[in-house]
């Protein structure tokens, strides 16, 4: 009997809740931005001149607790350079059916090549489609970048890239890529 007033108060709570603002998000129609640090789809970043940051070290794959990442490194050759330094990631796959979004790969990456975006719409209808390849993960070419393969900026060594001394692609790099393009068209 003594609980009766409290019970009546409960009825008041539910009744008043009807007039409070709902917390539901109308997802497909209204997309509410995630938190800035949300762990979404991965991205393989580029240096400001377009070279890839990934050096194919596989530390991300080793860090991954769900075994979702597969990396195959390869050597950069003169005239076939994808990243500054010796090595680059030739094959880079993330299996989003395994990925748990923990972000340990991000912490493991020594060159900040791998980061996460806020992109969370990762649903698809087959298993193969959910294994993202390197070209699905690579950051797009921004203005001022040129599409690798191309050589490093003249007189720069790999360390200069890591130190952030590169601000954009040089005129020589633009010319080199243009030359390769013309050569390919000629063939």
């Amino acid at each position: 009997m003594a609980e009766l007033p409290q019970m009546m108060r409960a009825f008041g709570v539910t009744f008043l809740s009807m007039f409070r603002k709902v917390t539901t998000e109308q997802y497909p129609e209204e997309k509410v931005p995630t938190q800035e640090r949300f762990h979404g789809k991965h991205q393989l970043n580029r240096h400001p001149d377009g070279l890839e940051k990934c050096v194919g070290c596989e530390l991300c794959a080793w860090a991954c607790p769900a075994d979702a990442i597969y990396v195959e490194g390869a050597s950069n050759e003169e005239g076939d350079r994808f990243s500054p330094g010796e090595r680059y990631g030739r094959v880079y796959q993330i299996n989003y059916l395994r990925c748990i979004g923990c972000g340990l790969c991000i912490e493991a990456c020594p060159t900040r090549a791998l980061t996460m975006t806020n992109e969370y719409e990762l649903a698809d209808n087959s298993r193969t489609k959910l294994i993202y390849e390197k070209e699905d993960l690579l950051a797009p070419i921004q203005p001022g970048m040129v599409q690798p393969p191309h050589s490093m900026i003249d007189d720069f060594v790999a360390q200069d890239y890591y130190d952030g001394k590169v601000t954009g692609a040089s005129a020589e790099q633009f010319a080199e890529v243009e030359l390769i393009k013309q050569k390919n068209q000629g063939i």
Binding site: M1, A2, E3, M7, A10, F11, V13, T14, F15, S17, M18, R20, K21, V22, T23, T24, Q26
Partner: protein, 428 residues
């Protein structure tokens, strides 16, 4: 005792066949529509109470959700498990659904109206014991549940069916007892005459305890939250309908919602003046004539359904023993006590010919005093208990490393931070 003349009942049973047919179809369609609306209303209102939106995709405001649910259920695979008793298994949902529909035959929707020239009451039929008929049909409805549990050939379904039927049987007693006071006052068991007897005062005002007992037992009777423990979606497999799928499950679903509408309609009829307009509106002439009373009737039902939903959104589910205690140890005894009071009052009034005011003074005031005393005593006892509990709760902190082993705190104990204890041990 005042005996109402049997004039009004003469209006029943003389309809031409096509009027009866129209009424039957109308009652059927109304019930199905009410079910669809109730499903939608329930989902939306409970959602709002939980600060969600609820279904809002199909139809305006999601109002076709009930229809879509029905379509979905009908299109699902109809699984009949290998071990079932086929005949009974198929019969059970049919019994449940048909009995749910049948009750509404005696519910008065309104006064006499003209059906294409035929003057007829807005009620399928009525007879001198129609409320007893309602109780009888409700009891037959329980067979649907018992048989469903029994024929499924599964332990879960059997136990669920047993519990559901035990629940409905228990609460039917309290429900039946709460009607007795109404019968005493109306002097009739016919629904149309009970409505007629409430022309001046609704029985909710005269017989409030009966009404409260009825409202509680009607929630128990319909197997709904907080009394839905035999089905307890999140906790059990699903009670008596565990082995049912597709349309057969839909029939149980339909029956549950129709029962909800039925008990609401019965409460309206017995306690809220049936189709009569509520007080300030009833002063306007003409509101209780023709088709207008349908508005009052359906709005009263809507209020009851809202209360059903509200209760579901507010109260947590009962435990089985709590539930049975409430039914057998509180509702039935208090119902019996209340009936005795009502009977004595009526008897005194009739034999001594006392005016109402004096009867109430003679009987009511001492009773109210006793009730108040009991309530206050109970309240003080409970308060004292709470205080004692609070005293217990102030009790000292405990050493979590008693006897060298880490131990969790018992109720009424507070854990000391391990670092503090270490410090204290170090300090000696």
């Amino acid at each position: 005792m005042r005996i109402l003349p049997n004039v009004e009942l003469a209006a029943f049973g003389i309809d031409p066949w096509w009027v009866t047919l129209i009424k039957v179809v109308a009652v059927f369609v109304t019930l199905v529509l009410m079910t669809l609306l109730a499903i939608w209303g329930e989902r939306r209102i409970v959602a709002r109470m939980q600060m969600r939106v609820g279904p809002n995709r199909v139809g305006p405001g999601g109002s076709l959700i009930g229809l879509m649910d029905g379509v979905k259920l009908a299109l699902k695979e109809d699984i009949i498990p290998f071990t079932v008793d086929r005949v009974v298994y198929i019969l059970a949902p049919i019994i449940s659904a048909t009995t749910a529909f049948m009750t509404f035959a005696v519910i008065p929707f309104g006064p006499e109206v003209s059906f294409f020239g035929v003057i007829t009451p807005l009620q399928l039929t009525d007879f001198p014991v129609s409320v007893l008929y309602v109780l009888a049909i409700a009891s037959v409805g329980i067979y649907g549940i018992v048989l469903a549990g029994w024929s499924s050939g599964s332990t879960y379904a059997l136990l669920g069916g047993l519990r559901s039927s035990a629940q409905m049987v228990s609460y039917e007693i309290a429900m039946g007892l709460s009607f007795v006071a109404v019968f005493l006052y109306a002097g009739s068991m016919s629904t149309s005459q009970i409505v007629a007897a409430q022309e001046r005062t609704w029985y909710i005002l005269l017989l409030l305890p009966s009404f409260l007992i009825y409202v509680i037992s009607m929630v128990g009777e319909t197997n709904r939250a907080p009394f839905d423990l035999p089905e307890a979606e999140g906790e059990l497999v699903g009670g008596f309908h565990t082995e049912y799928s597709s349309l057969k499950f839909a029939l149980f679903f339909l029956a549950e919602y129709i029962n909800m509408v039925t008990v609401s309609a019965l409460a309206t009829t017995l306690f809220l003046g049936g189709w009569r307009a509520p007080f300030p509106i009833s002063l306007i002439p003409g509101v209780n004539e023709g088709w207008i009373p349908l508005i009052w009737f359906f709005s009263k039902i809507a209020v009851f359904i809202f209360v059903f939903i509200w209760i579901r959104g507010t109260l947590p589910r009962f435990r089985y023993d709590q539930f049975m205690n409430l039914g057998w140890k509180i509702l039935i005894p208090s119902s019996l006590a209340w009936i005795s009071i009502v009977a004595i009052t009526r008897g005194l009034r009739n034999s001594l010919d006392l005016p109402t005011g004096q009867t109430i003074a003679l009987l009511g005031l001492p009773l109210i005093a006793v009730a108040l005393a009991v309530f206050v005593a109970d309240w003080r006892k409970a308060n004292a208990e709470i205080q004692r509990e609070e005293e217990v709760f102030v009790i000292k902190e405990i050493n979590p490393f008693a006897g060298g082993h880490p131990v969790p705190p018992l109720p009424g104990q507070v854990l000391v931070e391990p670092t503090d204890v270490k410090q204290r041990i170090l300090n000696g």
